[in-house]
């Protein structure tokens, strides 16, 4: 698989043409001998570049053109060029840079061994290396000259960010965003500004969530008064007096009581309520007595007729603790003397039986008692009005809301912004509410403000829309905290921003280290790894229970936990990112250990386990990934191969052709083992070029079944886990496959760098970002592939720290 030795095009960078207006003078591409020398040294230190790099400063005409003429132009010429790719029109380096979309593909196909096709004259490996290295380096250098930090579209908080932000602002872990609609995913992640949209439905949910949060944070003094509701059916009843009647009602057909043993939370005045109606008979209405501990409090006439219940209540003082609350029917009546008149219909009969039917009982109270504030409330409500005047309320509210809004909006706030919130408190006052209720409403307003819901980075208002600027310290703090924590900056980070020293490299580095150590960095495993590795999709898999009876929700959760903990260990211990491929440890609990056939692990709790042997080690052999890339009834070598190409190597296969060609128009279904059938399938040349890349990788993992258990056989067929990658590298089994993958560390590091940059920025990568990715890769290699060096390189990059004004380079 020789193409992997060289840099191939970015896995997620959009292949855009250069801006029409920008041309690069050829001189930019010629480097002094010294500079070239330095570059060469650096590269050979990385040990990743071939000697073909020497050709870099050579022009197209001298280096690439002869090879193109020799191997490509026979097909790729003129208007009728194969696949519409005509290469004969390119004569100079500048033209190649302008036509970069095409040349990206040329490099990819040449280095990958896909072009020239089998049957045509094939270049030597040295020739392949030379051509693709020239293209890559030329385009890469052109990218660096673009020096464009790009611009991130206004991002609203996604569901995870919303939950975490509310948790960290107010100390309430109520996850209101779980009820929001899903956030759409772009470039593999759900934090992309362009893709995150807002809808009236979501706005409605924001209002509800803000109410929920404000109620959880601010306890209203009046909220000591609670309503407890009971269906009559939930109450006990005097034996023989009647029974449950319809859905939840009770009938008292004879004198008797409905009884609740109710725990009154504190002494005070309570309202006892009952909703009831009578079945009328005789001269008087049904009488209902409210009783506490057997003592009559009040007796009412239930005049409400059949099926039109009315509400009845009484207020009384009750001591704290359990008491017997009862309603009693006390004037039962039955007229046994008047027989029914057979001439009248049922409805016309004189009623002879008086009954009481109760729908529900409620206890409301206590009245006149204030509820105690929450701990968070004491910290937030730092001022209360000294008197009941409008001015006093506003003054107190201002003291509370200014710091609160600053934390919610993640920056110092303007007076106008504070006053808008203060107005909410005034409104409450005018409506006879308590001060605390007013603060609740102001918190709600802050939580639906665009300043809270969106991570705002304002654009510099200059006459030059393309002008770029450094982010201000608060913006940078937010980018950092949402990148590493999926949450709002904490006090320390905000203080550093306020002091103005966050931009200092040493401070920034120290903050990154601190933040990665903080438990909140678990957000990286849940959100970044959850999406990079597609762990979140585990929720949607449904392995066939007949074939995989041990798969259940506990195992599903355990699989995800294993990979998240593994990822988190690499973060916390700052391990080399290459451990993702073959780390010799993992985290297991009993269900998962059994699943893996590893003994001696008991209980639901996870613990670190050192791995020996070839079977397990690294994410590729974890059940989560193996299951997510399988079908419900079988493994899918295609999906597994595609997963590796997309998520580890960053060399996704082209999408399948539209309208899948029918495999065999005449014949019946294919037969044989899964592998045999797939190999049959690959004889079709339309399918072969891509499946030759995906399938062998998947075959290498065939020892793992569709839920990631080790197996030697698939049904009656012995597993053949050998494969040959395009370019000729062969392997047998997952151990050797991993060795090959680890040998492609440049591809892996590039892929992970791109994913991390995409996630950190919240936008798709563009051509001009390639230079940044190169820089990140170098920095990571220099730092022994430590995880923190990847994060630091992303944070220190221009796209992360700067922002271009509006206008696009397109």
């Amino acid at each position: 698989m020789k193409y992997i030795k060289l840099k191939t095009p970015l896995c997620s960078i959009k292949r855009l043409g250069l801006a029409a207006g920008i041309t690069l003078p050829a001189v930019l591409l010629i480097f002094s001998a010294d500079a070239a020398q330095v570059r060469k040294k650096k590269r050979s230190a990385e040990g990743s570049m071939s000697s073909a790099m020497k050709m870099v400063s050579v022009s197209y005409e001298k280096s690439a053109a002869p090879l193109v003429a020799k191997y490509c132009l026979a097909c790729h010429t003129g208007a009728k060029a194969a696949s519409g790719v005509s290469l004969d029109k390119f004569k100079t380096t500048a033209q190649v840079i302008k036509g970069r979309d095409v040349w990206d593909r040329v490099a990819e196909n040449v280095s990958g061994g896909h072009m020239p096709p089998v049957g045509a004259p094939r270049p030597t490996q040295a020739e392949r290396d030379k051509l693709s290295a020239w293209i890559q380096t030329t385009l890469s250098r052109a990218d660096c000259d673009l020096k464009d930090p790009g611009r991130v579209t206004l991002r609203r908080l996604n569901r995870e960010e919303y939950n975490n932000t509310v948790r960290d602002l107010f100390g309430v872990n109520i996850r209101p965003a779980d009820e929001f609609p899903s956030d759409d995913v772009g470039y593999g992640f759900d934090n992309i500004g362009d893709v995150l949209s807002m809808s009236p439905l979501l706005m409605e949910k924001y209002l509800n969530a803000a109410e929920k949060v404000s109620r959880a944070v601010i306890v209203l003094p009046e909220s000591a008064t609670m309503t407890k509701h009971f269906q009559a059916a939930q109450a006990a009843q005097t034996p023989g007096s009647g029974q449950v009647y319809g859905d939840g009602f009770r009938i008292l057909a004879s004198n008797g009581e409905l009884i609740l043993n109710f725990d009154f939370p504190q002494a005070g005045e309570f309202e006892l309520r009952a909703r009831a109606f009578q079945q009328r008979a005789g001269t008087e209405a049904a009488k209902m007595s409210f009783r506490i501990d057997g003592k009559d409090i009040k007796t009412v006439d239930v005049t409400a007729g059949a099926y039109s219940p009315a509400n009845f209540f009484v207020r009384t003082s009750v001591p704290a603790g359990k008491h017997r609350y009862a309603v009693a029917f006390i004037n039962d009546f039955y007229d046994s003397t008047t027989p029914p008149n057979p001439k009248l219909s049922k409805a016309e009969q004189k009623p002879r039986d008086r009954n009481l039917i109760v729908e529900n009982l409620e206890v409301v109270g206590p009245f006149g008692v204030k509820a105690l504030p929450s701990e968070m409330q004491k910290r937030i409500v730092v001022a209360t009005p000294s008197e009941e005047t409008a001015a006093a309320w506003s003054a107190a509210a201002r003291k509370v809301l200014k710091p609160l809004a600053g934390r919610a909006y993640r920056r110092p706030v303007t007076n106008a912004e504070v006053e808008r919130l203060v107005k909410c408190v005034t409104l409450a006052q005018n409506n006879g509410e308590t001060y605390e209720r007013g603060i609740q409403i102001a918190i709600q307003a802050a939580l639906v403000s665009p300043n809270f819901l969106f991570r705002v980075e304002v654009d510099p208002r200059t006459s030059n829309p393309k002008a770029e600027r450094l982010l201000n310290p608060y913006e940078l703090a937010s980018r950092l905290s949402y990148f590493l924590w999926s949450s709002t900056p904490d006090e320390e980070l905000t203080a550093s921003a306020a002091k103005g020293d966050l931009e200092k490299p040493a401070v920034l580095e120290q903050q990154i280290k601190r933040m990665l150590k903080d438990p909140r960095s678990k957000a990286l495993s849940e959100n970044f790894a959850g999406q990079w590795l597609m762990l979140r999709s585990l929720n949607n898999v449904s392995p066939n229970p007949d074939q995989f009876p041990t798969f259940n929700d506990t195992l599903r959760k355990s699989m995800r936990t294993e990979t998240e903990m593994f990822f988190n260990a690499i973060v916390q211990e700052d391990r080399p990112i290459l451990d993702f491929i073959d780390g010799k440890f993992t985290y297991l609990n009993e269900p998962l250990a059994k699943h893996y056939g590893i003994g001696g692990i008991a209980g639901e709790n996870f613990r670190r386990v050192a791995l020996t042997g070839d079977q397990r080690g690294g994410i590729l052999t974890q059940a989560s990934i193996l299951t997510v890339t399988s079908n419900p009834t079988r493994t899918s070598p295609v999906k597994r191969g595609k997963w590796v190409l997309e998520n580890l190597l960053g060399t996704p296969p082209p999408p399948p052709p539209p309208g899948i060609p029918e495999l065999d128009k005449k014949g019946g279904p294919l037969t044989g083992s899964l592998r045999q059938r797939m190999e049959e399938h690959r004889k079709n040349p339309t399918c072969a070029s891509c499946h030759a890349r995906m399938d062998p990788i998947g075959f290498g993992l065939e020892n793992f079944d569709a839920v990631g258990r080790w197996r030697a056989k698939d049904g009656e067929f012995a597993i053949d886990a050998s494969g040959t990658l395009p370019g000729g590298k062969s392997f047998n089994g997952p151990g050797q496959l991993k060795t090959i993958l680890k040998g492609k560390k440049d591809l892996f590091v590039r892929c992970l760098s791109e994913k991390m940059l995409t996630y950190g920025l919240g936008r798709g990568l563009e051509n001009y970002d390639r230079c940044t990715v190169d820089t990140i890769m170098k920095s990571v290699a220099k730092n022994n592939y430590r995880f923190s060096s990847l994060i630091a390189a992303v944070v220190e990059s221009d796209p992360f720290r700067k922002r271009r004004g509006q206008g696009d380079t397109k």
Binding site: G186, Y187, L201, M203, H229, E662
Partner: protein, 447 residues
């Protein structure tokens, strides 16, 4: 004081007639309702199934009325004179047209829009307005909710959805505008609570009124924030903020009209759903119940309902299909796989039968709820193995308030734009659009 929506059945059964129910929204005396003259209303819904269907078991062999029900349509036998099968409709813009793979994403966001979506992973998402949203824009002000979007599967939460298309494309048939898919609700409980309140016993008419008042002022306050923010943003960011403005405005309108949107108190709400049922059929039926309630109570007249997202690989163990639906749909002419696809298609059809039969059982002043609706059901892919978007499996149920014939199989020339059907439907809810997507005119024969 004690307003519990729970034990209603006794009353309804006991008196053998409809009774006033306790209010969940603002209370309006029944007399006021009775005095308002009832105009016959017409609703539209679009129910989407993924991965195409097995066409030989779907398409009737004869045209006109009295066609024999093919295997897949058999579950509809109790409503056989209430729907028509429309053959030959096409979404030509769902084809690749030079954009390569991605038929699942394309067919989803093309289904109701009739446009060729832009291939992008994120930046510059571009589809078009969908038929339901066009209706919602024009007649949405007549009901509490302009439209209802529901489905059984959330959008993908990670990774690539389909061949370089953003996941936004593959989980939404409903598009408010070119760049804005409309998110759907998957939890029946949340749909119920949104429509009828959360049943908090501490909530009273007075407290609700006050909450609405505070909400209004909260919205005023945040609009000021948004306005001052807007002037500091670049154009692309302003576009994003515009979505925010739209959201706020719609809620403001709803609050302003809260008093005029009192649902018909005579409707029996049933039990509050507890959450998302495990079994897919139950999930579909429960969401179907929510749609029916919303129509019945005239809370909305427009609904989109995705039984699954396209490309869904969900198995159907309850009918003995353990393999994933998408996996099976690439059947390669394997008869066993095709049979399983047929079974899945029929299973979906059984759920539709439940919905249609229930709608038919609900009497309205004139005709039934089904008579006063237009329910389109079908897929954006014809054969799941070929990924073709012509000769789509489409049926339409209901009589559009008496404006549409039912019980026929109509074969149109293949490649007739499906958007022509939508234009004709829109006419029947009072939305007179000239074009939609690739439409070439109104659809003949059905209306």
């Amino acid at each position: 004081m004690i307003n519990q929506p729970i034990p209603r059945r006794t009353f309804l059964r006991g008196v053998g007639t409809v009774m006033a129910l306790p209010m969940l929204e603002a209370m309006l005396p029944l007399s006021a309702l009775a005095s308002s003259p009832k105009k016959r209303i017409n609703r539209m819904a679009f129910i989407f199934v993924p991965n195409g269907v097995h066409m030989p078991a779907w398409t009737p062999t004869t045209d006109g009325p009295n066609f024999e029900l093919p295997y897949t349509l058999e579950p509809l036998k109790n409503v056989r004179s209430d729907f028509s099968v429309l053959t030959g409709l096409t979404q030509r813009h769902a084809f690749a047209n030079g954009d390569g793979g991605g038929d699942h994403a394309r067919s989803t966001s093309c289904w109701l829009t009739g446009v060729h979506i832009k291939k992008t992973s994120g930046a510059d998402i571009k589809a078009g307005i969908s038929a339901d949203q066009l209706a919602a824009q024009k007649i949405g002000h007549l009901t509490k909710f302009p439209s209802l979007e529901i489905g059984c599967e959330r959008g993908a939460q990670a990774g690539n959805c389909d061949s370089g298309y953003s996941c936004a494309y593959s989980s939404s048939i409903s598009w408010r505008g070119e760049a804005t898919p409309v998110a759907k609700e998957v939890d029946p409980r949340l749909v119920f609570e949104r429509m009828f309140g959360n049943g908090d016993p501490n909530e009273t008419a007075e407290s609700r009124k006050k909450r609405d008042l505070y909400r209004k002022s909260i919205l005023d306050s945040v609009m000021e924030d948004a306005n001052s923010l807007k002037s500091q943003l670049g154009i692309r960011d302003q576009q994003k903020l515009e979505e925010y403005f739209t959201g706020v405005r719609e809620i403001e309108l709803r609050l302003a009209r809260a008093e005029s949107f009192n649902r018909d108190q005579r409707i029996y709400l049933g039990d509050r759903p507890a959450g998302i049922p495990q079994e897919r059929g139950e999930h579909v039926r429960l969401l179907g119940d929510m749609m029916i309630l919303a129509f019945q109570a005239d809370l909305t007249r427009v609904c989109t309902f995705m039984i699954a997202n396209d490309g869904s690989n969900s198995p159907y163990k309850q009918i003995g299909v353990a393999e994933g639906h998408h996996d099976l749909s690439h059947h390669g002419r394997d008869a066993v796989k095709q049979e399983k696809i047929r079974q899945i298609n029929r299973f979906h059809m059984q759920q539709l039968a439940y919905i249609l039969e229930k709608m038919k059982s609900i009497k309205e002043d004139e005709g039934t709820l089904l008579d006063n609706s237009m329910i389109v059901y079908g897929a954006g892919i014809s054969d799941g193995d070929r990924h073709n978007h012509d000769d789509l499996p489409i049926l339409i149920a209901g009589k559009g308030g008496g404006s549409m014939k039912a019980g026929h199989h109509i074969t149109y020339p293949n490649n007739t734009p499906m958007t022509n059907l939508f234009l004709s439907m829109l006419d029947r809810v009072g939305v007179h659009a000239e074009t939609l997507g690739d439409s070439t005119g109104k659809l003949q024969q059905l209306f």
